[in-house]
Amino acid sequence: MATAIQFRDVSYSIGGRDILSHLDFSIERGETLVLLGRSGSGKSTALKLVNGMLRPTSGEVQVDGRSTRQWDPIQLKRRIGYVIQHIGLFPHLSVRRNIAVVPELEGWPAGRIAERVAELLESVGLPEAEFAQRYPRQLSGGQQQRVGVARALAVDPPILLFDEPFGALDPITRVDLQNQFLALRHRMEKTSLFVTHDIREALRVGTRIALLHEGRLDTIELASEFPQASTLAARQFLACLE
């Protein structure tokens, strides 16, 4: 398997504080690596290093074999579908227009965009007839999150960064979307980095799980072997399963 994303001895600090220290791991093409960790452990920061919104203080992050410093910053971001933690839908645009933003930037013809929006809304469980014309403020938190997911998938990018995309969903919808995410992964070869602090979700959606603890990589294991992990931080998470 080819490597899609590689962290090479990456550290990131801001204002003299180390947020991430010496991260060294890679993500293979088609894999879903879950970044698990407590609040403040540096998960969101790690995602922003991948799409070039942040630059490592030392070391480098490579995407498709090229350092994020060498990528054209716009092209790198267009290759990556990113659901940010706070969703950030555009409040002045309808759901339809929110999802259409990147396809429009990429110059897709209107007909293809309309088709794609319909397909995406369907796949995140928001019937087009009911939701396409609404504005973000007319949606519940969980519905907004689903629009955020649809928007990130719009141009079918090969790499996905999901920062707690299902955080605001009820458990039933949550499992439903996790299943759709798994189906999507089987259907298309997507490389994903998926942030969560929910160990159950990590075990469900991840092919591997990387546990971040205070900015360091504590454990990285296949999802099937993670329950046997023995570090203190891992055992604390596993204890939540009981």
Binding site: N51, M53, P73, I74, Q75, L76, K77, R78, Y82, I84, H86, I87, G88, L89, F90, P91, H92, V101, V102, L105, Y135, R137, G148, R151
Partner: protein, 205 residues
């Protein structure tokens, strides 16, 4: 006689509108880009907002007086008036542009960056539409204030409805004063109402 007065009134109202329109247009063309720049650079913001605030504190008659001897922009007449009115109208437009851009949810900016928008795409498609109602409120303030201040233009030969007012004050003729003041008040009300309507239409929320 009455039709003379009417023609006089129309002509000075027209002059007044031209003065206001020209001044506000220049302020918008200067104030919005300056506001965008200020929202990005903290130092520039301090200087420009400081400058515009100081301008606002100078009494208008004094400002006209200061400008008259200045080469290029000064002198007696319309040019000086427009320069002074622009200096006054700048602050509300500049400040509201900065406030409008500052008020945008950081998550919205973050997602725009994450989608791979260039700076100018982000500005045109996200930031300006979201700041538009606030910027427009600034334009409304500037317009209404300028309609009032422009009456002083007549003091240095700039024309407009102030001509009646100064004539009326000189000859202690209240009818003349009202002939200037009432149309100016009506213009201000109409501009205020019209711009408030556009503001509501533009407001996304």
């Amino acid at each position: 006689m009455r039709s003379d007065l009417l023609a006089d009134l129309l002509q000075h109202t027209w002059e007044h509108l031209l003065l206001v329109g020209l001044s506000v247009t220049v302020s918008i063309l200067a104030g919005i880009p300056a506001g965008i720049a200020c929202a990005r650079h903290a130092t520039l913001r301090r200087w420009l907002l400081g400058f515009a605030s100081v301008m606002q504190t100078i009494p208008s008659l004094a400002l006209f007086g200061f400008l008259i001897p200045v080469p290029w922009i000064g002198g007696i007449g319309t040019r000086t008036v427009v320069v002074a009115l622009v200096l006054y109208a700048l602050l509300p437009i500049l400040r509201n542009t900065v406030v409008g851009l500052d008020g945008i949810d950081p998550a919205v900016r973050e997602s725009a960056v994450a989608m791979g928008m260039t700076d100018s795409q982000m500005l045109r498609q996200v930031l300006l539409p979201l700041a538009a109602p606030t910027i427009l409120a600034g334009i409304r303030l500037a317009t209404v204030a300028t309609i009032g201040t422009a009456t002083i233009a007549a003091a240095i030969g700039g024309g407009g409805l102030g001509v009646f007012i100064f004539r009326g004050v000189g000859t202690v003729d209240s009818a003349q004063i009202l002939a200037g003041a009432i149309p100016a008040a009506i213009l201000a009300l109409v501009a205020d109402g019209g711009l408030a309507w556009i503001e509501r239409r533009l407001s996304p929320l």
